[in-house]
């Protein structure tokens, strides 16, 4: 980035650097520890007190949502300024001040589709991390065929009445509010869906965590039994929710592309470096297992190719070029890459990658097989890989639907 050409940007960089030096606590510049990750919301405990300070300082500047308008609590930065902010954050290895579905998914569609009152009501609490959101999309009978959802939403005059069940609701038991796809017209499929926001503390809402093969419970079954929702909490048009739902999925997928499923944990060396310790090297520094060595090279190449593709898209998009075709492959490629990476991590660590808990293993070693198991969902969540390939084949390559 040749911001040396623009004195305003140079000044912004200098100011940002100085502010970060002063305001980012030292412990927030160390590699992220899993249970210190900040998701915000009423239930946030801030295991590390510095993380609270860091969030408050960043939120006060609007820098948890750097490009959102200042009117809604955002940072009001231009793309160029945000790029500099991200570079400077990376430079000091700062942990994210806030992880949030509100920032990554809901906020962008509210900016686009919500009315002024809704924006004022919901956006600032996303920026400052006061409200944590969850995503009510999938249902037991509506997975890949999401538009088949059945959760019923009836107009009761002065309120909406919601009945039904969602599943795979990420962190529903931790979240304060839900953005939810509901059926407001049973006579049509896609055109009978609306986009509704409500409080998870409303009467009739129950979230039950689902225990996964990785041992963790990031997802819930969520039940709605006669839940009353104020009329002004429906975003966009009545029965116009599918368009919003799809746009939100785009943000979800592009967030995946920006970070990758395999977002390497800050401070963790690349796998081929770690392999030296676990596999051993010969006199010339080559890994002793020649087959693993070649496959690690293959993985490193896939990783590089993926990162170059994301960078290419970002650059072309900035230059105003159409990148939809390239974007369509990103989620599919990201899932495949992360599954390969996490599988190879377990393989490379050998016995040390096979501990479940307790003594005899480092935290990083214990995390490796959980990550491998967690990654199995990468090709299921946010559209399965098979659905992704269907989308590429039909929308990008223009191949026809099979008849009967």
């Amino acid at each position: 980035m040749a911001d040396g050409m623009d004195p305003t940007l140079d000044q912004f960089r200098a100011e940002t650097r100085a502010w970060l030096e002063e305001n980012c606590p030292a412990s927030m510049r160390t590699p992220q520890v899993e249970d210190e990750t900040v998701w915000g919301g009423r239930k946030e405990e801030f295991k590390n007190p510095d993380s609270k300070l860091w969030l408050e300082r960043m939120a006060a500047k609007g820098w948890t949502a750097p490009t959102w308008p200042k009117a809604y609590g955002g940072g009001g930065l231009t793309k160029e300024e945000n790029l500099i902010l991200q570079q400077e954050l990376k430079r000091i290895k700062a942990r994210p001040a806030l992880n949030s579905f509100g920032l990554w998914m809901l906020g962008p569609v509210l900016l686009e589709y919500a009315n002024e009152e809704q924006k004022q009501k919901f956006l600032p609490d996303i920026v400052n991390g006061k409200i944590r959101w969850c995503q009510g999309y999938s249902e037991p009978g509506a997975g890949s065929d999401l538009a088949g959802l059945q959760t019923k939403c009836e107009d009761k005059g002065d309120h909406w009445l919601v009945n039904g069940q969602k599943v795979w609701t990420s962190y529903a038991d931790q979240a304060d509010w839900i953005f939810c796809l509901v059926r407001t017209d049973t006579s049509k499929k896609h055109e009978g869906i609306s986009f509704l926001l409500f409080d998870m503390e409303s009467e009739g809402v129950e979230a039950r965590p689902i225990k996964l093969i990785s041992g963790s419970s990031p997802f819930c079954e969520t039940f709605f039994n006669d839940v009353k929702v104020p009329k002004d909490h429906l975003v966009g048009r009545l029965n116009g929710g599918w368009e919003i739902a799809k746009r939100l999925l785009q943000y979800e997928r592009s967030n995946i592309s920006a970070t990758g499923f395999g977002a390497d944990r800050a401070g963790t060396p690349p796998l081929y470096e770690r392999a030296k310790e676990y596999v051993g090297t010969d006199a010339s520094g080559k890994l002793l297992d020649p087959d693993l060595r070649m496959r690690l090279a293959d993985l490193a190449m896939d990783d590089k190719a993926f990162k170059l593709t994301v960078a290419r898209m970002a650059e072309q998009s900035k230059a105003g070029e159409e990148v939809g075709h390239t974007a369509s492959i990103v989620k599919y490629a990201a899932a495949k890459l992360n599954q390969k990476k996490t599988e190879m991590t377990v393989e490379t660590l050998g016995y040390q990658g096979l501990g479940w808990e307790g003594e005899g293993f480092t935290d990083l070693e214990l995390a490796s097989n959980k990550a491998m198991l967690r990654a199995k969902a990468n090709s299921i969540e946010g559209g399965t890989s098979e659905v992704n390939l269907n989308v590429i084949a039909k929308r990008v390559l223009g191949l026809k639907e099979h008849k009967g």
């Binding site: 690349p270 081929y272 470096e273 392999a275 030296k276 090297t281 520094g285 080559k286 890994l287 060595r293 070649m294 690690l296 090279a297 293959d298 490193a300 190449m301 590089k304 190719a305 993926f306 170059l308 593709t309 960078a311 290419r312 650059e315 072309q316 230059a319 070029e321 075709h325 390239t326 492959i329 599919y332 490629a333 098979e386 992704n388 390939l389 269907n390 590429i392 084949a393 039909k394 990008v396 390559l397 223009g398 191949l399 026809k400 639907e401 099979h402 008849k403």
Partner: protein, 378 residues
């Protein structure tokens, strides 16, 4: 990182695509093949010289346009699309790079203007055995009478069957496998003791084996440092690898487009075969591989223009990915075309034949994965 083409680069790309599809089309390629040309097509090469493409990497002071590697990559990708046989890769990219990176001013001013005008072609002769192994040079170069005497052999030299000037890697010291002790020499085609055997190759582009028996080379024709030529050779090869990757990308995209077209026209069981999910998914996977390989090739070309220190890594990445892609796409092209793809009458065979040759050229997928690992230090 530069992934967005400038207006001039885009113009070059379009001009190259137009030229290739009009004058060096697959139909033209088939005609040449049927006539037994073995890759020699001086008439087309003359037209390419008029387009100025041999001088894309030649500095202006030596008669070129010094337009850069990203631009050259566009021309090579376009050439890959129609499988055209020309000296662009071996002369305009590899040969010119050798002179630009390692040549003295006298050598540059002797050779480069002629290359830029399309008057002479070059060929790089490195390998002596069945696989690409640039340090595995046995050919000897003994100091004698103020110059050197070269003895040994070279195999499967691309463009060697017509090149006017050879750039030959020989050993002034050390033994096979050592990177130290390798020196590059310029040897004109008509030189006593040089025997050239023309090869008829799978891709109909041809190549040559060289036999050097006491070939005398004056000291003035040493390219680069005596005994320290490997770094220069590897840098020149990296340019060849990236250029070959650009050709393979073009080849793969064209084979994919042909297959994509067939999926949308061929009917079986009363419907277009492109409506079958098993084929749709494989087409989508090929598309995904093409997009990611394009990023690697574009990144590698940009690394050259920007003079970055990761050129070697990027070259191995691009060549391995492009070789893998071409292998996948040319196989799927035949499978998805079914029986018609097995016939000589159809172009599918031309793609797989050319792909296999360029996949191996300057090192295949395995060579470059191994090299990538070494470059990353594991």
């Amino acid at each position: 990182m530069t992934f967005v083409l400038t207006e001039e680069q885009n113009m070059l790309k379009e001009a190259a695509q137009d030229f290739m599809s009009e004058q060096l089309s697959l139909t033209h390629f088939r005609k040449q093949r049927n006539a037994g040309a073995n890759g020699k097509d001086p008439e087309s090469w003359g037209a390419m010289a008029e387009m100025g493409w041999y001088g894309v990497l030649v500095p202006e002071e030596f008669g070129g346009s010094e337009f850069g590697y990203v631009g050259m990559g566009q021309v090579l990708e376009a050439q890959g699309r129609t499988l055209a046989s020309s000296p662009l890769l071996q002369t305009a990219m590899v040969g010119v790079s050798a002179l630009v990176l390692g040549g003295t001013d006298a050598q540059k001013s002797t050779v480069l203007p002629k290359v830029a005008e399309g008057k002479i072609t070059t060929a790089l002769a490195v390998d002596e055995h069945a696989h690409h192994a640039p340090s595995n040079v046995v050919m000897t170069a003994e100091a004698a009478g103020g110059g050197y005497t070269l003895t040994g052999k070279k195999v499967f030299v691309p463009n060697g069957h017509f090149a006017d000037l050879f750039i030959i890697a020989a050993r002034t010291s050390g033994s096979a496998g050592d990177t130290d002790g390798i020196t590059l020499f310029m040897v004109p085609r008509e030189t006593d003791g040089l025997t050239i055997s023309e090869l008829s190759t799978l891709d109909y582009h041809g190549a040559a084996n060289l036999e050097l028996n006491g070939v005398v080379v004056p000291a003035a024709d040493v390219l680069g440092e005596v005994g320290g030529g490997f770094a220069l050779l590897d840098a020149v090869l990296d340019r060849g690898r990236i250029g070959a990757a650009a050709e393979l990308l073009g080849l793969s995209v064209a084979a994919f487009e042909m297959t994509h077209e067939y999926l949308q026209t061929r009917k079986q069981f009363g419907q277009l075969i492109g409506s079958f999910q098993s084929l749709q998914h494989r087409a989508a996977i090929m598309f995904s591989e093409i997009e990611q390989t394009r990023s690697c090739v574009a990144g590698a070309l940009a690394a050259l223009d920007e003079g970055r220190d990761d050129v070697a890594q990027m070259a191995s990445l691009a060549k391995a990915k492009a070789s893998h892609l071409a292998h996948l796409v040319t196989n799927e092209t035949i499978q998805m075309h079914g029986g018609i793809g097995m016939t000589d009458e159809h172009d599918a065979g031309f793609f797989i034949k050319r792909a296999r040759v360029v996949e191996a050229m300057f090192g295949g997928e395995g060579f470059h994965k191994e090299r990538f690992a070494s470059l990353l230090g594991f």
